[in-house]
């Protein structure tokens, strides 16, 4: 996997999988555009990258219609983007009986709406480089059921369908679109969920992962693989990275 000379944009780069993916891309030779909402944490990610030429961009992805213009301005100064990773996302533990439309909209706006906005922006002339690659983050919960997370699961299932639809639509332009479906990964997002569970519930969820819980680095390898030329012949795919969660 070699990303030398490539520019990769990563959302959700302030923490977790996004941060680790940005780091790995930099280690593989890429120039990385880090996107997030927390300036301090973005700066921390920036400091941890290998090589030079990286930049951090504060942007609120909830305004999906603003994304294309913003991406155009990014590529105007950084040059075309060879890859785009949408790792920003929110998780809400809300059993259906207390799942209101506001929570649904919030989750869908960032997890799916922003993904569509980013794809739309990437397609613009001069933004996505020829042979560019987009990677979205789905989840095992978008593939198999789990109680209490209907909105989050719906958003991650939507990402799977979105990945396939865009893969077909953008193949003539040689833009590949794939997604990664992680199991439970020990990140700040997971820590937030864990606080809502009893120790027994957390342990039960962990036990369903045959190889234990994963790390952000585990998922970043899969993302980098799909972004790089190693996945030249892969599009519309869902790469499950889950320690065996969906194997049984």
């Amino acid at each position: 996997m070699d990303l030398t000379g490539q520019t990769i944009l990563v959302t959700g780069a302030s923490s977790g999988i996004g941060r680790e993916t940005a780091r790995l891309c930099s280690q593989l030779g890429a120039r990385v555009v880090l996107v997030g909402r927390n300036q301090e944490r973005l700066a921390e990610t920036l400091r941890s990258l290998d090589g030079e030429g990286h930049r951090a961009e504060m942007f609120d992805l909830s305004s999906a219609d603003e994304i294309p213009r913003w991406l155009k301005s990014i590529s105007a100064s950084s040059g075309p983007l060879h890859g785009l990773v949408h790792s920003a996302g929110i998780h809400r533990l809300r059993p259906v009986r207390v799942l209101g439309s506001r929570t649904v909209e919030d989750v869908m706006r960032i997890n799916v709406g922003a993904a569509i906005g980013l794809a739309r922006g990437f397609c613009q002339r001069g933004v996505g480089a020829a042979g560019g690659s987009i990677v979205f983050l789905s989840s095992v919960t978008g593939l198999v059921g789990q109680a209490g997370i209907a909105a989050y699961a719906a958003s991650k299932g939507a990402i799977v369908a979105l990945t396939r639809a865009l893969a077909v639509e953008l193949a003539p332009e040689r833009i590949r679109v794939n997604c990664v479906a992680p199991g439970v990964v020990t990140t700040p997002l997971w820590q937030g969920v864990l606080e809502m569970l009893t120790p027994e519930q957390g342990a039960a969820l962990e036990a369903m992962h045959l190889l234990g819980l994963g790390s952000a680095r585990d998922v970043s390898y899969a993302i980098a693989f799909l972004i790089a030329g190693t996945a030249r012949w892969i599009t519309g795919a869902v790469l499950v990275v889950d320690g065996g969660y969906t194997a049984h």
């Binding site: 533990l93 809300r94 059993p95 207390v98 209490g148 569970l197 009893t198």
Partner: protein, 93 residues
């Protein structure tokens, strides 16, 4: 200036609102739940109900309750007690 009596009245109103929220969550008749009711005796008080309860009190009262705090509660009054200070604090501020 709000009087002590006004503050106490506000407290009672908010406790009623809290019990009403529980009735709603568990699909009981409004006013069905009494403080002395044991959680064990309430049909539908299961792990999903606990998560729903945590989400609702966060949303409606801005209070973050941990599962281990709920695990220590045996009655509805104990649950109210988890928010007791917060309900009072809102009007004392």
């Amino acid at each position: 200036m709000t009087s002590e009596a006004d503050l106490l009245q506000e407290n009672v109103v908010q406790e009623k609102e809290f019990l009403s929220l529980l009735d709603e969550l568990l699909e009981l008749e409004q006013g069905a739940l009494k403080g002395s009711a044991t959680l064990e005796s309430i049909e539908g008080w299961n792990s999903l109900a606990v998560i729903s309860f945590m989400a609702l009190v966060d949303e409606r009262f801005g209070v973050s309750v941990q599962p281990r705090q709920i695990a220590k509660c045996t009655t509805v009054a104990d649950l109210v007690g988890l928010l007791g200070d917060r309900i009072g604090a809102e009007v004392r501020a």
